[in-house]
């Protein structure tokens, strides 16, 4: 396998063969964006299918098994149905913001995908403040939710959106601080370098106790960030109709739905990169074949996605006050203590390195 995995460079070189340099750069960007868009739209659909199957298995059911073999085409059919549906709206909605909201949500979640190193050099955009970029981008999505809830001119949507604001602002802190704990260990924010550091052992092993605490906090806060059960105060079917997307139908609803699942993938992918060695294979068993890294990365990510689904189908939902108690009274103080613990461990060189 002699294919260069650095896709940005490969495509730019390919295009600059018959284009001026500026056009080739832009062409490469557009091509990569389209490839990512196509791959992750389909991946999002299959995540929905996975969620439904996993939910079924947790509840001793069979799950979708009618459309295609083992129900594999079920979500494709659902997406086609949603595309063909009418885009309804309320009369008193703020039309511009109402139509804008789904794009905020989907664009912000797709933007975050650009920085993940799927394997060695297979990365669309190797920015040197990768983690910072991810934390920043993941909080833009909530603007879409707030806009959607506000512009719908619907009280349920508004309550859902405000809850989303409360929840995301609170849990941002925990996500950021738990990733910061790991940054103390790596000394860099660049995702490709974070993976390089882990060649001496995955960070969850290197950082042992504080890393495990940080991972637990990250998974709890990450689940809350994606607005999934048990933290689904935003949608809250039993109380708010469908929460912020009550008034959305057809493809606009599908964007919200898809964004939720891509966000779940992103949260799991960040955890994979920062805690579980990204595309590195366990004990370096496939180190000589770099393209296998994609499978390790996807495999680890899907394990973590499964963990989040496991949370969803096990735990009872939280009330808003319990949600905030959990964050401000438990996760945040623990997180701050954990940073100190990690700092002490890094300072005294107590990390486990192979």
């Amino acid at each position: 396998m002699n294919i260069s995995l650095n896709i940005t460079k490969t495509i730019t070189e390919l295009l600059s063969g018959f284009m001026p340099e500026g056009a080739a750069n832009i062409g490469a960007m557009v091509t990569i964006a389209l490839i990512y868009l196509a791959i992750f739209a389909v991946a999002g659909l299959y995540l929905v299918l996975l969620e439904r199957k996993v939910a079924a298995w947790f509840q001793l059911r069979l799950g979708p098994n009618r459309v295609g073999p083992w129900g594999l085409l079920q979500t494709m059919a659902d997406a086609l149905k949603l595309v063909s549906k009418e885009l309804t709206g309320t009369v008193k909605a703020d039309k511009f913001l109402y139509n804008l909201a789904p794009y905020f949500v989907i664009v912000s979640s797709l933007m975050a995908l650009a920085v993940f190193p799927f394997t060695k050099e297979f990365q669309a955009f190797d920015i040197n403040i990768g983690i910072f970029f991810l934390i920043a981008i993941s909080s833009i999505g909530v603007i879409g939710i707030l806009l959607g809830g506000w512009a719908s001119n619907n009280k349920f949507a508004l309550i859902g959106a405000m809850r989303s604001g409360v929840q995301t602002i609170s849990y941002e802190l925990s996500v950021g601080l738990s990733l910061l704990t790991m940054v103390l260990l790596t000394g860099t924010l660049q995702l490709s370098e974070i993976v390089e550091v882990q060649k001496n052992g995955w960070l969850i092993v290197q950082g042992h106790i504080p890393a495990i605490i940080a991972f637990m906090i990250y998974m709890i806060a990450g689940t809350a960030e994606t607005n999934r059960a048990p933290f689904d105060m935003v949608e809250a079917e039993s109380e708010l109709g469908a929460g912020f997307h009550t008034e959305y139908s057809g493809m606009k609803f599908a964007y919200f739905f898809l964004a939720e699942f891509i966000n779940m993938f992103i949260i799991a992918a960040i955890a994979t990169t920062v805690f579980f060695g990204g595309w590195l294979s366990p004990f370096g068993i496939t180190e000589s074949i770099p393209w296998l890294g994609v499978f390790w990365f996807i495999g680890k990510t899907f394990l973590l996605v499964f963990l989040m689904m496991w949370f969803r189908w096990t735990f009872p939902r939280l009330r808003v006050d319990q949600l905030l108690t959990l964050e401000w009274k438990y996760l945040l103080p623990l997180n701050l203590l954990n940073i100190i613990l990690m700092a002490v461990i890094v300072w005294l060189n107590l990390t486990i390195q192979f």
């Binding site: 298995w57 947790f58 001793l60 059911r61 949370f311 189908w313 096990t314 438990y330």
Partner: protein, 158 residues
């Protein structure tokens, strides 16, 4: 320090819950409770407790156990059961006796509460497990439970 105690207890109980659902997840292949209904029509067996409709079982001699006491009619909260009865001369003893002519059951009005079956002193009516009750006209839902020319089984009244 109940603060850290609470955290410990919280994590412990969450893990207990996850282990329970995890076990269900692993055994779901064998124990799926979903009935793939129209496909398994031949093998589908409803449970004993399922309330489909009220029927009156008859034995091979076309004999039922209904004495016409009307307790089911009285017990029914919405009048789904009507019993048309008559005093006839019993051919064996030669005395006049209450006998049912028709045991009429309106399935369309029945709420499946089961009070008639509890009220029946001779177990003449029981639950059937069929559920494909849709018909094109609602008059089909009015059923006569006793078969034509059927009679009371001997010894039920004693």
């Amino acid at each position: 320090m109940s603060y850290f105690g609470d955290i410990y207890k919280g994590i412990k109980t969450l893990l207990t819950g996850m282990s329970v659902t995890g076990k269900y997840f692993l055994t779901s292949r064998k124990g799926a409770i979903t009935q793939q209904y129209p496909d398994n029509k031949e093998t589908l067996k409803m449970f004993e407790r399922f309330r489909g409709e009220v029927v009156m079982p008859h034995d091979e001699n076309n004999e039922h156990r209904c004495t016409g006491c009307q307790k089911c009619e009285l017990a029914c909260p919405n009048g789904s059961i009507e019993i048309i009865w008559d005093r006839q001369i019993d051919p064996e003893s030669g005395k006049k006796k209450k006998m049912i002519d028709k045991h009429i059951y309106h399935l369309g009005m029945c709420t499946m509460c089961g009070l008639c079956i509890e009220a029946c002193p001779t177990d003449a009516i029981v639950w059937a497990q069929n559920f494909e009750n849709s018909v094109y006209d609602r008059s089909y839902l009015t059923k006569v439970l006793n078969q034509p020319n059927s009679k009371l089984k001997a010894g039920v009244e004693d």
